[in-house]
Amino acid sequence: MLRKILYIDLTSGESFVQERQELFENWMGGTGAGIKLLQEECPSGMDPLSPEAPIILSIGPLNGIFPVATKTVATFKSPLTGELGESYAGGRLSLAMRFAGHEAIVIRGRADRPSYISINDSKVEIKDATSIWGIDAQTTGVVLREHETGVGRRSIIRIGPAGENLVRYAGVVVDTYRHFGRLGLGATFGSKKLKALVISGTEHVDVPDPKRYKEVYNRLYKTTVQTDVMEKYHDIGTSVNINVLNWLKGLPTKNFLLSSFPEGEKISGEMFAENYLFRRLSCAGCPIGCVHIAALKSAFSTHHEFEVRKVSYDYEPIYSLGSNLGIESAEGILQLIDVCERTGLDVMSAGVVLSWATEALENGLITTGETLDVPMQWNNVDGYSRALENIVKGSNDFYRALARGVDYAAEKYGGRDFAMALGKNEVSGYHTGPASIVGQLVGVRHSHLDNGGYAIDQKAAKKPMDPERMVDELIKEDNSRGVFNSLVGCLFARGVYTEENIIDSLGAVGIVKTGEELQDLGKRIFDEKYKFKVQEGFDLTRAHVPKRFYETISLSGSITPETVDEMLRIYRKKRGWS
């Protein structure tokens, strides 16, 4: 298997392919290769929206070859946080990259007019996208399908107006329903005048020992379809956690003013599944089918005329655009998710920005003058929809501030104590305890998925853990996920890929690794990411934790700043930083 990188320069319109065997040997692929390429391409202090800022898409040695190795990682300098940008998407992108023969794609430069990139195997073209600039993300996919080849094996990734207008938490929609959601890759696309990228290929992969390959494949497949863990994602899906966390007092509600939502039953995963779910989909290469699609049917006249929208949902959007905004109906949440899908906004950041604005309006930090008379009030679906449109358009100074993220807006208007961001990234939907807070703070991309702190809190709630033990667990996850993300597997399936299974599956494609080598790789990847973060000004000792976390009771009871500070101190010590 040749492991190649495709370099594309939008300024000059040129592209070339380079073999980088050594890079992949040392850093595996995926996020390992991604961070090294970012270091090469992005010197200190670069403006994340400048033409020189790179976009790196990378896959790993198992993508397309083994079950549930379905993700692609995007590495970039985040326009939202100003430091490491890293986001993962499923769909068909990793498969398309595999069969086009590119393990990584590096995009640099800025096109002189709206453009999209078309990749067919080794053929790369930069095409005019003027006529689709300004069009929503969904329609962009519809249009490009007509013009490009590779039906059924291609991937179309694109931005909506939010990315074009450089909203700092604009995402990139992948094959409809999947996203590079977090940290603003959509704005980076927009700054390059890059509307979309279409990729397909016709290559195949020869494995060194087909018999062994089949044996390992079958074992992993069997584990995947038979474990309980995956059944959870298959059935109700991630939104099964709405009821669970609501009962346990861990569901952020109304901007974390509460940790349980009295109306929670109305927006539970069960409610969605029984009344709106009409279909499940899979990423290519995964038998689970966790992508849950709801049909949102609404009448637009009294004469039985309906419009039906197909909206995907998960736990996080139901939290951020639901309980977090006091929305009491599944339909209301689906409407807000749909606005984010069309405009190309990250649902999580968008919800947290709106919940902060709602409180800021209640507290008089802002007035209806700033909101342009849009009623940003709990459970006001129409008001929130209009606010999202205003953020995308950048209607006035206030909305332009909101478009830069909650941290920026709170710096300007006040209310940092309830501006729910950690490491400048709007937080995920878990008020579970100190491990969730510390996990997101120390995490390389300030995501709940960096180290799964929320799960550590839940474990600790059952069987108490001291702060040191929690930190040990966080570090273990930080490192092991670095390895898994170099492969680039779906984190839902991390249970399937035990160290032994990783070694076996790598062996089946001709890569020999020991357990120690993998553990070392995880640590090295983490260190390289921190090097980049520190270079761009991230300082863990000055990390800000909004007071609200300490005011609202969590799943683990009251969280004290002392506990969080102690865990941070232990974390730094164990990492050898103090």
Binding site: I65, G152, Y177, V207, P210, K214
Partner: protein, 183 residues
């Protein structure tokens, strides 16, 4: 339990039954058990045929396509799969699952000018690689698009082995036994 199938050149090969993987227990009943069928109906003569029983249940995982190329050629390839899962308007639309229908009067065999696709008396169509010139007439003859040229510019012909059935997590595919006419 091994079963005999024909490879691309039409020769009998023994295929391991390692692909038989119980997916979700309740769906086991949907899958045809070849041993039982043989016991229950030794006569009249039947042949095995792949069937898209529930196309609307497809989730687009492409597991069947990978199972096909993996089992038959030992590679990872979408091009070399005889079964095809197509999208209609992206994944927002419905999937279309294309399999060989095992036609009695097979148009692909009729269209082949070289006799490389040979119609057997029991209704099966057998491919002789050595006779194929890669002209693609078989591909044009099949309206459903079940036969197409693979990466070596040779037709990829479904042999109704059922490898794909075992890797469909949603019970979309089934193997059925159909009577052999005049058999």
């Amino acid at each position: 339990m091994n079963r005999n199938v024909e490879d691309l050149a039409g020769t009998k090969v023994e295929m391991e039954a390692e692909t038989k993987i119980p997916v979700f227990p309740e769906r086991e009943a949907l899958r045809l058990n070849p041993e039982k069928t043989e016991d229950a109906a030794p006569k009249p003569k039947t042949r095995r045929r792949l069937k898209v029983a529930h196309p609307e249940r497809c989730i687009g995982c492409l597991g069947c396509m990978f199972a096909c190329s993996r089992t038959r050629t030992g590679t990872v390839s979408l091009q070399d799969s005889a079964i095809k899962v197509q999208t209609q308007g992206g994944i927002e639309g419905d999937f279309r699952v294309v399999v060989c229908r095992g036609c009695e009067d097979a148009p692909c065999a009729r269209a082949c000018p070289e006799g490389a696709l040979e119609k057997k008396p029991d209704g099966r169509v057998v491919f002789h690689k050595d006779l194929c010139t890669g002209c693609g007439k078989c591909e044009k003859a099949c309206l459903v698009g079940a036969i197409s040229l693979g990466k070596e510019k040779m037709p990829i012909k479904c042999i109704h082995c059922g490898a794909c059935v075992d890797f469909c997590p949603h019970g979309v595919l089934e193997l059925e036994e159909v009577p052999v006419s005049g058999g």
